[in-house]
């Protein structure tokens, strides 16, 4: 990570995201590897370096906040800066209380606060020693929507003040996307892909990443032809055309997977390209859109999301003409 960035670590529950965070913080020791922060080596299995947590300049926000129940809000926040002289320490605590909209809460105890307030105290506590990186473990999972939105806004605000990197762990794709500039996608046991947010979203490295980032329609096919900037991909009975930026690594007869998000599949209009006929086999009503499942070949389904404002609900059992706009098709591993 360079400069001040927010990176999201995305992955399903139990896949090691929290462990990664704890290893960075020094609360867990990896078997092998190297961890470097701002040019300081925190851990190196080969060289036998393993800096204890207290010597790493890291702020950690635990999923359950982990506030000290026997200390006041003020003392919780001041815990990491006890070595500062009293005036400076109190000043910083007051500043943080202000930023977190917790003025006048200094003398209260954690048990007297709401979940959202406790989290803000935990955040203030982590920021007080001015760490070089802030680690957040599933910061939004325990909150209701309103509180979540406020916290997200606060986080973005803090981030503009905060001089260091921010790394947060989540299993929610939407959150990861909204708040980060870089993403790392994890699955049980390992890192699948990391990089700029847009790269992950638009150019997933493999099928697992594609699925984890919400691409539910993944088709396996063969490159049947390359003409100019257009690539044709044969899928069973039909073919799809797309215009990728980078044609260099594509060869005719190569096996390839393409994907498209459910939101981008359209009911046929005047388009000719990439259209197919499919039967609607299932439909679910969500809050503001319909989630349809179409079948267009033996065992090949397409998931389509159509906003309610686009028209009335489609009828199960009928066939419809669907189009997959080439600009929204993504090559997996491309």
């Amino acid at each position: 990570m360079v400069g001040q960035e927010i990176m999201a670590i995305l992955g399903p529950s139990g896949c090691g995201k929290t462990m990664t965070l704890k290893c960075i913080a020094g609360l867990m020791t990896p078997d092998r590897g190297r961890i470097v922060l701002n040019e300081q080596v925190l851990f190196d299995s080969q060289q036998g370096i393993n800096l204890p947590a207290r010597q790493r300049k890291i702020g950690f926000l635990f999923q359950n906040y982990a506030l000290f129940p026997h200390l006041t809000v003020h003392d919780n926040i001041a815990f990491g800066i006890r070595q500062l002289p009293a005036t400076e320490r109190n000043e910083r605590v007051q500043q943080l209380l202000g930023k977190m909209r917790l003025d006048h809460f200094g003398h209260r105890y954690p048990v007297e606060l709401s979940g959202g307030q406790q989290q803000r105290v935990a955040l203030a506590r982590a920021l007080a020693p001015e760490p070089e990186v802030l680690l957040l473990d599933e910061p939004f999972s325990a909150l209701d929507t309103q509180v979540k939105e406020r916290l997200e806004a606060e986080l973005l605000e803090i981030q503009s003040d905060f001089q260091g990197h921010v790394l947060f762990v989540t299993h929610n794709l939407a959150e990861a996307y909204r708040l980060s500039s870089k993403m790392a996608v994890y699955e049980t046991g390992g890192l699948l892909q990391w990089g700029e947010r847009q790269t992950i979203i638009e150019r997933p490295a493999n099928e697992k990443v594609a699925r984890l980032t919400g691409m539910e329609n993944i088709f396996d096919g063969i490159v049947s032809g390359i003409e100019g900037s257009r690539v044709d991909i044969g899928l069973g009975t039909g073919y799809l055309s797309l215009y990728p930026d980078n044609l260099n690594r594509l060869v005719v007869n190569q096996e390839i997977s393409v994907a498209i998000r459910p939101e981008y599949v359209k009911l046929a209009d005047s388009r000719e390209e990439n259209c197919l006929t499919a039967e609607l086999i299932d439909g679910k009503e969500e809050l503001s859109f319909y989630s349809y499942t179409f079948q267009f070949q033996e065992e090949t389904n397409i998931k389509v999301h159509i906003s309610k404002s686009a028209g009335p609900r489609l009828v199960a059992g009928k066939t419809y003409r669907l189009c997959l706009p080439s600009e929204n098709l993504v090559i997996i591993g491309g």
């Binding site: 609360l27 947590a53 207290r54 010597q55 635990f62 506030l67 026997h70 105890y109 048990v111 982590a126």
Partner: protein, 234 residues
Amino acid sequence: MAVMDLNPLWISLKTALVATAITFILGIIIARWMAGREFKGKSLLDGIFILPLVLPPTVVGFILLWILGRNGWLGSLFFEIGRPVVFSWSATVIAAAVVSFPLMYQTARGAFEQIDANIEDAARTLGASEWTIFWRVTIPMAWPGIAAGTILAFARSLGEFGATLMLAGNIPGRTQTIPVAIYFLVEGGRQQQAVIWVLVILLISLASIVALNYWKKYQRRFSSHPVREVTADS
């Protein structure tokens, strides 16, 4: 009625206080050490620490004699230097400490294990050394449990009889604690005097338990976990 010999009271109090101080320190250290770890034989070790709680006091007494008696492997050393353990006041303390240790250890360990590991980890990320964490986080959070264990240990020390009799004997003015005194007074037909001591013990024990429960209610305002109640199986 002749002026009653008040020695049992002083001896019992001294014994109980010293024994409790010993189990307090040892209990906390060992409980903290055991609370964090997983290792082979942990259950066995844990069992040994709890054993005096479930063994009949006479068995405990026998084992203590075997170790500290005149011919015992530790006792003989003391005998050599002219300070035998058996029938000394120290023996009352040892007997009391051994039987009350499990109570302190178990309660303290429960208190330590209830502490959310994340909280101690949080302290680490905030730059605290293990020592600081122990004094500023672990102990304050475990305090209700520790206080409970201490009072239970004190009450148990006060009430120790079987092992005390075997190791320390019934020497008035030296090792005759209140429970021992009660036994011999009843044996000797002096019920009235026995009743007085019985009331003394009842009062002290009851006061301890009440103080304990009151203290725990007061401490409860800090923690989000319910504090363990004093029950027969604590």
